[in-house]
Symmetry: C2
Subunit: 406 residues, 2 copies
Amino acid sequence: QIDSARLWGSIHETAQFGATAKGGVRRLTLSSEDKQVRDWFRRACEDAGLEVHTDALGSQFGLRKGRDMSKPPVGIGSHLDTQPTGGKYDGILGTLGALEVIRTLNDAGIETETPICIVNWTNEEGSRFAPAMMASAAYVGDFTTDDILSRKDAEGTTVGQALDSIGYRGDKPVGFQKLGCFVELHIEQGPILEAEGKTIGVVDSGQGVLWYDGKISGFESHAGSTPMPLRRDALATLSEIVLAMESIAKKLGPNAVGTIGEAVIANPSRNVIPGEIAFTMDCRSADGAIMDALDRDLRAAIAEIAARRRVEVKIDLVWRKPPTHFDPKLIAAVENAAKTLGYSSRRITSGAGHDACNLNTVMPAAMVFVPCKDGISHNELEDATQPDCAAGTNVLMHTVLAIAGV
Amino acid sequence: QIDSARLWGSIHETAQFGATAKGGVRRLTLSSEDKQVRDWFRRACEDAGLEVHTDALGSQFGLRKGRDMSKPPVGIGSHLDTQPTGGKYDGILGTLGALEVIRTLNDAGIETETPICIVNWTNEEGSRFAPAMMASAAYVGDFTTDDILSRKDAEGTTVGQALDSIGYRGDKPVGFQKLGCFVELHIEQGPILEAEGKTIGVVDSGQGVLWYDGKISGFESHAGSTPMPLRRDALATLSEIVLAMESIAKKLGPNAVGTIGEAVIANPSRNVIPGEIAFTMDCRSADGAIMDALDRDLRAAIAEIAARRRVEVKIDLVWRKPPTHFDPKLIAAVENAAKTLGYSSRRITSGAGHDACNLNTVMPAAMVFVPCKDGISHNELEDATQPDCAAGTNVLMHTVLAIAGV
Ligand SMILES: NC(=O)NCCC(=O)O
Ligand SMILES: NC(=O)NCCC(=O)O
């Protein structure tokens, strides 16, 4: 059994790095707050006797030796960055839970056959730089390191510049640390486990993701003197797109979602009809055919709206992540650990993307979910209970022990 | 006849203060660009022999003596501030046209019975500080000077601070310069004169304006894991409000418009459902009953949308300006001047608000319109011809001479 109080202490100690007035965390990837939590994590790994390295994209790896060092380690971990108005658990539970597993094994003097490596992946959230799960995507070869290093945030700062500014451009090439498999603990970020009174979610699949950048070019004109029929209003156009996306996602059933999270009017003024808007779109489904339908229906709706309103709408697909199907043997290992420990559990699909989804494309991977209050995440009010966090960490540890061998 | 080339030269010389790449002007009120054009205007007034004063809200007054100094002067002028992406004529034609009238009278050695005062009113546009036509509203007593001085822009800078920062908080109290009447020359900012091939618009009325500040409070949550039916999406709410306003304005007929010009998502992120949006609304009609209907229908639609989407929407009416009916005698004077000079003309309603609309509440006022290209205004592409600008300025001068007496 892991030390529930110690785990809880780590979560709340690190929550000071970027703490917000409403009890959440604002710790955008590669920000000064992110540097603070990275420094804390590195020291904690060193104190736990791990060999710590940082790769060229800033991901941190802490290695615990096994008896057979020829075997690639069992990877566990998650991320320590957050949304602009994020919570204390998203990513953090999985990273500090992995640290807690190491500390518990150390205290109990348990040696494993296979080494264990705990990881803090850079920019999982995708809020400052696109795409989300950036570093693990580069790790599995979806993007080159140079491509990722040149990605820019809204201020035009590149990933490379941001890494240098906090001193976290590591000396190890991306992929230097081979892993044999990867298990990630996370809060559910949805309402199902709580509603059904289950403690453990055995994640068997994850939604695919489509991310788009959009730009609407209408025509700025005077709010008072431009008759309604003559307008080419960028905001009215966006409004129709937002509602079309909503109805397309609803029509495609419970297994589809669509969101416009960002929209910025250029040079806004009260008495000027908006002429130009930049926006982003996020569409998801666990079903590849539904993803295709989302893309097709959305493009058709946008084309119709743009033509009718005599405006130009440009849509760029900037990221496409197919649905994930986790490794059956690892899924069974998680399920078995939950059962052995006496926790109630159910199979579940992840609504969010996770680094484990990327790793699953090149190695066996799986995930452990615990409930979060009202299913709320990406919100400062995100909450989870200490017993649930401890239960998930115990399941993580027993899964690792089953794979790594004692 | 005024000097068309000199007028055109003044317009294009001052267009350098805040010139944009697309040929427009960005000269927000009380900005450093506004200081530049004010300095230019003050020197030009002094060179024309006027006695120049600035009031406590930065409005500039240039007085040309008349034979009977016991009579309150005939006021002419407009404003030199622009929208963030504004043009070279909106307000500028009326202010520099007034200067051109003075220069022409000087050159011709014409003395008038009544003095003439040319005015550059502060913050006509209302883009940086609300409401629009701020200084002329204070002049007529709609707001106290202290109230206006404390108004803030989006950065939290007050009007008072902005005046001090460019050295234009004048030593004269607002209202120090009595005026007997006011005539304002302006581009139409709409498509009617051009479409009908008329040179002069004799403005007999102006639309009323309703300005609102709005705030939507929904709930931030995860774009991937929050099912569509559970969302309380602030942007989807805004979208319905935008489209409801559009259809209400259309339904209330050709004599009503409604615009949402500003909308800002708080802490936006691609994968976060927007939780909070601040926005503004601008509704207008020349008919008071239609203004009431706009207000009533909009509030009802917003209440229905908010309740159905389980979000909170707050609406504050920050400005209400009733429709304007200009002075019949001055309207006739403008019409007569156009006829005498041989210009085609028609009566017209102003879609935009103007300082003359404020002044009309306490003294006789009227306006002269000239066509602008495709009716485009509040846009860097705003355009007008040199002959039309000269024609409008001639009509202004002859109207003034008729009122002031030679
Ligand atoms: N777990 C999580 O919230 N990941 C962020 C990436 C995404 O799913 O949008
Ligand atoms: N003339 C003009 O564009 N005024 C700005 C105020 C408004 O009508 O919104």
